[in-house]
Symmetry: C2
């Protein structure tokens, strides 16, 4: 049992500080960015929970090992792959902020699906370049997908995946869902296991990736998986760049000009930082759409990110069961 | 009463000819593009109905006046503004193909809304140009709209407008509908008249134009109407270019960089032909998204355009009431 008031360290966050005011009832709140090295040396050993959006800059092995009382790491992110699990003691519970981005990111996934399928990005670019060639009406129509009756495959049917499926329904799309757990949502076909993934890839016109980046999902879309997809299909990635194998998708796009990869998430550079300047020339391809990992930040603005964090930390302080506890074995 | 078999002339169409096979039961079908001048001179006086997608090329005043038996002009388009009403005798009934494009164009309208609000087109362009500036998470988030709880105003609540409203529902958007007729759809607020239009423009975050181009709607969005809109709003046009006043929207975009005009439809050039190279430099603006009137052609590919035409012509041949009869007073 903790003696005295709890001590919460905010590692880094883009949320407004006022969003954390409700937690002052339970805990003293320290902001890492406010403290110099001397203050950190004094405070870190007393901290019992840490909240951060991304692994806190400067929190090295030495500092983490000084945090002897740390019992909870609450992430601001839905995906927790940036956490240094190797540095965290085995008794530290890690919680994600899954659900904190669901509707925002799902809207974005639908936006990428439509921007790709309707050729909106490509046509706008061609018109600006004066390179649009007038076409017969029916030739033009063939560049513009119609989604009614088409199939949407959602890989990773958590908060984002489920919301994406919901938003695709009024288009009259069939929804296939791949995940670890069976899905019983009305009108959604649940698929599991290797055979289930391949079936989803084969039968879907649009595949949306909404899985966390774990040991299991890293590189899960490679040459074989792309080969199972429809050559005129669309792959939307709102998960993490590394879920898709970079060389495999690049080669596939070059060989299949009718296939589109529309992604908000990118591969890391040599320093391990997500880079919007990949070392393969994706940005020269006609059948690539890229946005700078901006689907999630809209949720920061709306306050839903902070809401999920504050709610889970309140559970912790009140001794109630935590939400979104991460299975650490999937990340080490 | 007609003597003998009906005679149908197909002026121009992008539909497959087989789509019209069911009409052979009722009528002899002539294809304008198959006939030389001599054949036309022989056939035109016998034609009692004309189907065309856009006003048929070469069908001048002399030829129309030779079509003494013409009683029905069935358009392949949902918007009939290209028809030469001045050449058609007063006893010719004109029918549009309203509804033949509803879901296709509504999907496109939602696509433009998301491409604009989520900054997808802009970010893809900046990344390709190497001009994307890294931003703080919260600054980035502010470039990405979140639609839950926002208001969608649909101007023209026909087939396309209604489908657009339906597709926006799972985003959690409020829907306002402006039209000539009261709307009783669940959850949709019906607005009419000048005051209703201004209220819709004031209260909507996104406005979708889905009206036909008539005497009443030509230029309906000008300086005053734009001034009523939210400076951070989005105007989506899937109707006709001329519904929006060109100089007014250009000036408004220059003065309001946070406002986006996303359009699939364009103004006519001096020859009266819709032009994707407007005489004002819209294509240099960051807050403009343009596509080459391609939302409708997808419906030709899916066969729904031909289906609507064949159904209405069947009604005509069977003497049943026609659908989508145009009020010719709105077009002359």
């Amino acid at each position: 049992m903790r003696k005295g008031r709890a001590k919460l360290l905010v590692g880094q966050t883009a949320n407004r500080r006022e969003e954390f005011d409700p937690l002052k009832r339970f805990a003293d709140i320290y902001w890492l960015e406010d403290m110099d090295e001397e203050q950190q040396a004094r405070v870190l050993p007393q901290i019992d929970c840490l909240y951060s959006h991304g692994w806190p800059k400067g929190l090295d092995a030495g500092k983490v090992s000084a945090m002897k009382k740390l019992r909870l790491y609450q992430a601001g992110n839905a995906g927790v792959n940036s956490i240094r699990f190797d540095l965290l003691g085995k008794d530290v519970v890690v919680c994600s902020n899954a659900g904190g981005y669901s509707d925002e990111v799902a809207e974005f996934a639908i936006g990428l699906m439509l921007a790709a399928g309707k050729s909106i990005v490509k046509f706008d670019r061609e018109l600006r370049a004066g390179a649009f060639a007038h076409q017969r009406l029916d030739d033009l129509g063939r560049c513009v997908a119609f989604f009614r009756g088409k199939t949407l495959g959602v890989v990773g049917y958590g908060g984002i995946g489920r919301a994406t499926g919901r938003m695709a329904k009024p288009f009259g799309m069939k929804v296939l869902a791949f995940g670890r757990h069976p899905v019983s949502d009305k009108g959604v076909k649940s698929l599991r296991g290797r055979a289930g993934l391949l079936k989803l890839l084969r039968e879907s016109d649009v595949v949306v990736l909404a899985v966390p980046l774990t040991n299991v999902t890293r590189g899960m879309i490679g040459r074989e998986e792309l080969g199972a997809m429809r050559p005129g299909g669309t792959l939307v990635n709102v998960a993490r760049g590394e879920v898709v194998q970079k060389e495999a998708i690049y080669d596939y796009l070059v060989k299949n000009p009718g296939f589109v990869y529309a992604t908000d998430v990118w591969w890391p550079d040599k320093q391990g930082v997500e880079s919007f300047s990949p070392d393969l020339p994706f940005l020269e391809l006609e059948n690539f759409i890229g946005t700078p990992h901006c689907s999630g930040p809209s949720a920061i603005i709306t306050g839903t990110v902070g809401k999920g964090v504050v709610e889970n930390l309140t559970r912790y302080f009140e001794g109630r069961p935590l939400k979104n506890v991460v299975d650490r074995s999937e990340y080490s």
